[in-house]
Amino acid sequence: MKIHNLVWKEMKQRPAPCVAALMAVALGVAALVSIQSVAASSQTQVARQMNELGANVLVLPKSATLEDYYAADLHGETMPESYVTDIIMAQAVGVEEMAPKLCLPATVQDKQVTVTGILPRSEFFKKSSWQSVDLMFQEMESGGLGQSHENCNGRTCQLTDEAMKDLKSYAKTRVVHDLAPYDLLVGADLASQLGLNDGDTLELYGEQFDVAAVLPASGTIDDQRLFAHLHTVQDLSGEGPVVNVIEVMACCEDVTAGLITNLEDLLPDTRVITISQLVEAQVGMNRLMSRLSLLLFAILMLVGGASVAAVMFSNVSERRKEMGTLMALGATPRLLHRLVFMKAACLGLFGGVCGILVGGLIAMAFGPMIVDVPMSVSTSAMLWGCTGAILVALLSSYLPARKAAQLDPSICFQDV
């Protein structure tokens, strides 16, 4: 028999108080693990989506609000298309792609639709010659759009030409390489409502357009839209070379931070917004959840610690005679300390493990319902939870252990 067998057998003999203390500890750890896991999974998902989105910077006219833009891009405010060239000229590091847009309301088969003018990538190359900048084309090819850089962290920043030439890929990449002046891309839902297919024709503002592609469903507002060449839409609107928004696909998140400042300096009469600002609320919520879980953990650990202390105190009091006997048989005060601490550590460890299991299960079961993201249990929360539980149990047992070590061994001669 080893000393740890003594602890184990003693706990088995009277499991009820141990289970009560264990549950109190487990509760604290479960709260920490479940909430931290939900917060961490949400955070990871937000970061992943940010990275995947690419179009994480919006350049809007100063007077346009973000809410207006997200309502329908139809805020009516415009800015010169030349800003696109300004951005290219500035060679801002991190600009991966750009998508200037102009939105125009239209009526098709008595249905109100939005026609969004988009600029194919081939037009950016033309712009370099408009500006008569000798090096522009070279910059576009080697140091401007589509530039790969060390901050990509292995992510494929550049879109392949094949992807951009496939018009249907616009739904995903939001970039096309070429688009003829009277070609239309039609959102999936709208095509379905209007009965449009690839190769059909459609009259818009008195002009005949060809349906170049029906886009696959993207689950966004784009499914309800028509997309045409930006310059054609500008002609239809009669407003000249203007755009409502320039979407900048920046790579990557860390580069975006510096890019915002650069763009703000470059285009002072615009609003430069990063999508990270949009997710700030979510990130803030995650942070709040994380802090709340720590607070909850601290409170429940206090309760757990008090419970462990109560169990250990009562254990030492009830087992005075047994401890006296152990001392008579040669147990040193240090050994009695050890016995009490081993028991406490067991309670902390088992409480921690139970808490991790319960917290993990709660996170996996209910997490997706709360934040609608795939869940994974936070490893750091598991480690902190278990370590915290053991430490709290040990700290709570300090006084009971001291009391045990100070017992008068001659108690074993008395009837207790």
Binding site: M1, K2, I3, N5, L6, K9, E10, K12, Q13, K321, E322, G324, T325, L326, M327, A328, L329, G330, A331, T332, P333, R334, L335, D408, P409, S410, C412, F413, D415
Partner: protein, 233 residues
Amino acid sequence: MIQLTNIAKQYRLRDQVIDALLPTNFTVEQGEFVAITGPSGSGKTTMLSILGGMLSPSAGEARVLGENLYQLTAEQRARLRNESIGFVFQNFNLVPWLTAVENVQLPLTILGTDRQVQESRAVELLARFELANRADHKPSELSAGQQQRVALARTLVTDPKLILADEPTGNLDPDTKQLVLNALHQCCDEYGQTVVLVTHDDSIAKTAGRVVRMERGTLTEATERSLNIASAG
């Protein structure tokens, strides 16, 4: 083996000072079987506790097994108890959540002896006390006599040089009483172990090689006559 010099013990109870043991000298040679008799509250158990290194005296010097007991640290005294002193208690003091064999192993567990050695030694001693078939029983499943035999096996498992027995036959039937007494005599006669036995029972005391009597905290050598008078009383 044992040399107590001017040993005294006082307890404080609120404002009162109680003399549990008046300054006393007491010597026991190696291999002796000494019985301490006396009425309740005379200081017998206090004496035994001091001999076992479990109760610091208020005055005097206690040399046991060549060590000045109360000059040692608590850890050193515990180690000495574990290796060289065995206790037999009136109420057996078995650990209720351990089986008989585990109870017997307990001193060796505390000593850190190899598990197999612990088991073989415990089983051997249980067999010696005719309890081999009760090895896996818990104390609550054993009779009082069986429990005391388990306790005796536990006492002997470390081959202690000194055995301190506090009313070891107090709760036993006559047959078991005799069995325990025989075992203690065997320790003394065959294995040369020193036994100090505290008892109310003068018939038990009479079997000892030497009897001392305690009254009101004072120790006196008992005579055959005093024992007979006490027995008659």
